[in-house]
């Protein structure tokens, strides 16, 4: 009998390890730090993805919220881009993907901004939600609904707003404007992980939960550039499972920066980022979840 128990325990451990390793990382899509809102450029980016037959999440990161006669962002092309010009550019991506893909690939296109800078706030969040609604309507009116989804996204990093108030106001504004999912592709800086007990730069784990999963539109697609980042998000999910009403974090996928960082081996490849978080959360039944998406961000437009 005792030998049977030992066999069972060993088998159990083997199953746990096998389960964590059995889920192959999906092919990574390309997300981008945007330096342009040129519709043709984005059309061709969408066409490239469609031609490759890729499915998944694409985040077009247009930079920090900014105001110049209207809501918009300060892009990585060191220029203001209005929300309407961002929508116009994203529509180009949707057109390109639709035209160049077969009938199977599925695109979740998210327009991304961040919580960096003093313009992060409720009105910027509301405007961003409105921009995503415009993209949803575009997909519907163009007959793209069988393959395309419009999403919002925010690179929410605790260190960029340690008081949390501007970030939470932005999130509330977005939720007031739309029911379209909001992908948090941010970090969990200064949050707890193995051997480290931080307070998420003042947000606490509750604040990070609210941004990534607690708000009704929020879904986590976290940055996993190294092991500690995966462990921080695993701890966040364990916290949420034990302390928050909607349980563990259901991670849609991961974001890596292998193409952008220029860091060589010091940053994870897309597969490494995905597998790290997948293994960590599936090592604990309270946080177990099967992720679906992997995206890698690049500077090229």
């Amino acid at each position: 009998m005792l030998r049977s128990i030992l066999t069972l325990v060993a088998g159990c451990a083997l199953v746990a390890v096998s389960y964590a390793n059995a889920i192959a990382a999906p092919a990574a899509t390309t997300s981008r730090y945007m330096a342009t809102t040129n519709r043709t450029t984005l059309y061709n980016e969408g066409c490239s993805m469609g031609t490759a037959g890729l499915s998944g999440i694409v985040i077009l990161d247009f930079g920090e919220p900014y105001y110049s006669g209207g809501e918009g962002t300060y892009t990585y092309g060191s220029a203001f881009a209005s929300d309407s010009s961002i929508v116009n550019a994203a529509e180009g991506f949707l057109d390109g993907f639709w035209n160049c893909s077969g009938s199977s690939p599925q695109l979740r296109l998210a327009i991304g901004t961040s919580n960096y800078g003093s313009h992060t706030g409720n009105s910027a969040g509301q405007a961003w939600g409105g921009a995503v609604n415009t993209l949803k309507n575009y997909i519907s009116s163009k007959g793209y609904g069988s393959q395309e989804f419009a999403r919002g996204a925010i690179d929410a990093e605790p260190g960029w707003d340690t008081e949390f108030s501007r970030t939470s106001a932005w999130i509330d504004g977005y939720n007031a404007a739309t029911t379209a999912p909001l992908y948090d592709y941010g970090s969990a800086d200064d949050c707890p992980y193995s051997g480290f007990s931080g307070n998420c730069d003042g947000w606490g784990q509750h604040g990070l939960w609210y941004v990534s999963w607690g708000n009704s539109d929020g879904y986590p697609v976290p940055e996993i550039y190294q092991w500690s980042m995966g462990d921080q998000w695993y701890y966040e999910s364990a916290y949420s499972a034990s302390s928050e009403a909607n349980g563990k974090l259901d991670f849609l996928g991961t974001m890596t920066q292998y193409s952008a960082c220029g860091c060589g081996s010091s940053t994870y490849t897309p597969a490494q980022g995905f597998n790290t978080l997948q293994s960590l959360i599936n090592g604990n039944s309270s946080t177990a979840y099967t992720m679906s998406y992997s995206t890698d961000i690049t500077w090229a437009n």
Binding site: L8, Y33, N38, T40, G143
Partner: protein, 172 residues
Amino acid sequence: MRRVFAFSTIALAAALAACSHGGNGGTTPPVTQPQSANVSQQKMLREQERVPSSFVAPKHPGFIAEMPDTQTWTQGIAQAGEAPVPGGMFDIVNQYNTIQNGQHVTVYAGSIRPTGAGILLVVRRSADLHTVNAQTMTVASSAVRIESASGSDLQLQQIGRSAQAIQVRVPL
């Protein structure tokens, strides 16, 4: 015999409990799951909802010729501007933008974590923005700000206790 069976039953229950909690090496406190499954499931269903379309558009595959980008590339020093890098890696103070040899060049100044050393992050983009490369230069022991610039010569100010002016030539 009965005692052995009782022990075995307890051990089996413990083994199954351990199995259900996974093999995390005990790094996380045990958690209890609230009644959250329905909330999560409903949320995930919402994530998969499709936008209704009354028709399916025809497809017209093929790339289209790109027109020159009419966007104005602001040159000079800007206090605003998030760097295209994770906040957890760099703390950016400000940036300098210029065009050199047909390339768009952005120099971000600030510091790198966790050492706090002053750095410049130089990002070069081809005119069509399709090709980008970057390099990091460590220039001081603490964060730096760009005070002025002329061509590839930057005048930096070290921030902190030993505030010093630093002259740097950036390989543009």
